[in-house]
């Protein structure tokens, strides 16, 4: 509530300011940008990362933008109401940040053709709805390299949410990184059928540690796996944002989103009139994804190696899914000298070599 009131006051004062200034000069009205969040801004995970991006945009563009956000918006009918409200109250650019907002966003967008909409992680677009996502698998490749250097048991655990292409792609990229420095290491995957259940995620990590895993990675949103690793004295990687707070010994690094530059670019495009609905899927090179600072437990030469590899990905010299890429059955999926096409990455439905067990159908 206080947050919304604060935004209101801020909006009111900018309006006052704008009227005062416009009398004297040709002041540009600030662009109003709205955000819809699935969780609370303090979740230390997914929504936190988006809100950090919003703040970055405000810092970079100064008085050219004002922004408001609505947090804890359930997917479905509730989100449609919130999105419509944001469009009605004069926001000219609206970011809807969860997969389930896809259809409500398109529906509202039809009624507000002059408003620009940007939907995260979705695949449906229209004249005024664009989509965006970060190539987080590039970060996961790098965390895989760290895992390969740090594991002693050569068994690495991975807590997955649901077996959808995005998560499978992450597991595969992680495994590619892992095996690029440690061909003997393998990845064990456990699915928890949830995005956010701290206790269940912790149990999943514990069950992996019981089976010999000494490094844990995760594609779920809570810090449960980090806490399990910290308690058992093994290593872990966070996701979404730096989770080192939850396990200062266990947390080696994290695959993190960095939405700030994207939000800044989109807002600039709307201001100068160059915005158009398109699909943006960029990674380390654009700075949309990154890895969190590495733990001191990671030896200096490994840290250097990881930074070098990161630079190679940025320069386009290294691709996590460069051929020869073999699937679990040992068949070559990508020939030497080629890389996996985006379209195939988006529908990835198989494990690469090095992942144990069968991918649930």
């Amino acid at each position: 509530m206080a947050m919304q009131l604060g935004a209101l006051v801020r909006a009111a004062s900018t309006v006052l300011l704008a009227t005062a200034v416009s009398a004297a000069a040709l002041a540009q009205e600030p662009l109003k940008v709205g955000f819809v969040y699935i969780g609370p801004t303090g979740d230390a995970g997914y929504t936190y990362a988006h809100d950090k991006g919003r703040k970055y945009m405000e810092e970079q563009l100064g008085d050219q933008v004002t922004s408001t956000y609505v947090e804890n918006v359930a997917e479905g009918a509730d989100s449609e109401r919130v999105i419509r409200q944001l469009a009605k109250s004069g926001n000219e650019l609206i970011f809807t940040t969860s997969f389930g907002y896809m259809n409500p966003t398109l529906k509202v967008a039809k009624q507000f053709p002059k408003v620009a909409f940007e939907h995260a992680t979705g695949y449906k677009r229209s004249a005024n709805v664009g989509t965006y996502m970060g190539r987080i698998y590039e970060s996961r490749y790098l965390t895989g390299v760290i895992a390969g250097k740090m594991t002693k048991s050569n068994v690495v655990g991975y807590v997955g949410s649901f077996p959808i292409p995005e998560v499978v792609r992450g597991i595969n990229a992680f495994t590619q990184g892992l095996r690029s420095v440690n061909p003997d290491a393998t990845v064990k995957v456990v699915w928890v059928s949830s995005w956010y259940d701290p206790a269940k995620e912790l149990e999943a990590a514990e069950s992996l540690i019981l089976q010999g895993a000494d490094v844990i990675s995760q594609h779920t949103d809570s810090a449960g796996p980090i806490q399990a690793a910290e308690a058992k004295g093994v290593y872990a990687f966070g996701y979404n944002s730096d989770m080192s707070l939850y396990g200062k010994n266990a947390h080696l690094s994290a695959a993190v989103f960095n939405w700030g530059p994207l939000y800044e670019a989109k807002a600039r495009a709307v201001i100068d009139g160059s915005w158009k609905a398109e699909d943006v899927w960029l990674g380390l090179a654009a700075g949309y994804v990154d890895i969190a600072p590495m733990n001191d437990a990671v030896p200096a030469d490994v840290q250097q190696l990881v930074m070098d590899l990161k630079q190679q990905i940025v320069d386009g010299k290294l691709h996590p899914f460069a051929g020869p890429l073999t699937n679990q059955a040992g068949e070559i999926v990508v020939a030497e000298g080629e890389v996996l096409a985006d379209k195939e990455m988006l529908s990835m439905g198989y494990y690469v070599q090095g992942v144990e067990g069968e991918l649930p159908k």
């Binding site: 969780g39 609370p40 303090g42 979740d43 230390a44 936190y48 804890n72 655990g157 077996p163 064990k188 995957v189 456990v190 699915w191 928890v192 059928s193 949830s194 956010y196 259940d197 701290p198 206790a199 269940k200 912790l202 149990e203 999943a204 514990e206 069950s207 992996l208 019981l210 089976q211 809570s222 810090a223 449960g224 806490q227 707070l245 939850y246 144990e356 067990g357 069968e358 649930p360 159908k361």
Partner: protein, 308 residues
Amino acid sequence: MDIDFIINVLYAMIRTGTPLLIVALGELVCERSGVLNLGQEGMMLVGAVCGFIVAATTGSLFLGVLAAMLAGCLMALLFGLVALGLSATQVATGLALTILGAGLSAFIGESFVGQTVLGFKALPIPLLSEIPLLGPLLFNHDVLVYLSFGLFAGVIWFLRSTRAGLMLKAIGETPESATAVGLPVMRVRYLAVLFGGAMAGLAGGYLSLAYTPLWAEGMTAGRGWIALALVVFASWRAERVMFGAYLFGLASILHLIVQGMGVSISSNLLAMLPYVVTILVLVLLSSDKARVRLYAPMSLGKPFHRTQ
């Protein structure tokens, strides 16, 4: 598969089953007095968030646990005032309590999401923890797990061997006769409801202070409902409640371990396993209808009017 591995699995089973055991023991006592409180989930959430907030601000886990139990009690008191004081339908009141608890806990915990406290650490009991096999399994837990062992023994002793326990059971069977012989029906029922609330709060505190020391909205993830089902399927007997809680814990861990071993069964199917196994086993145990009727408190869920 060596013996250490099995001990480790059983150890995880106890930790997973503990919150269920605590909340189910509270509900068991409450139901034996004839009151059905479906608000467990809500009381757990409020307990979890209050415990976390107090522990995070004061730095004292002990105060956190106290706050969790007190918060559960306050929620239960609210239930008592409406369901006992005003004789409202217990089922509807309990459901309302769950909805209230979910919303209230999200509201008061908003600024504490994303924080962490140093949770309860395992506290090996000297000598006992050195017994081979049993030591690491039973005597290397955190304080709250030991407390749950004590509560289990306490509830059994209370129901079997104390005058107050007998009184409580009599009131749960036929409150009319109990009041005729001068037993304070309302006072006992209030106390039973408050005990249930304190236990639910404690179970919530176990989650937010010991198991995963953090606060997240809706973090109990349905454990209050599972506990409610446990009490019924365990035919209101404390030993079976403990058995059921640990069985659920074991199945929860096993389905994750089976996945890690690479068995190709759908993960969604495996995720159902704890529920199916627990209910199936307890139903089989309680399949003797005549005996179940003997154990079900006869006046369960029925409002009591003194003037009758």
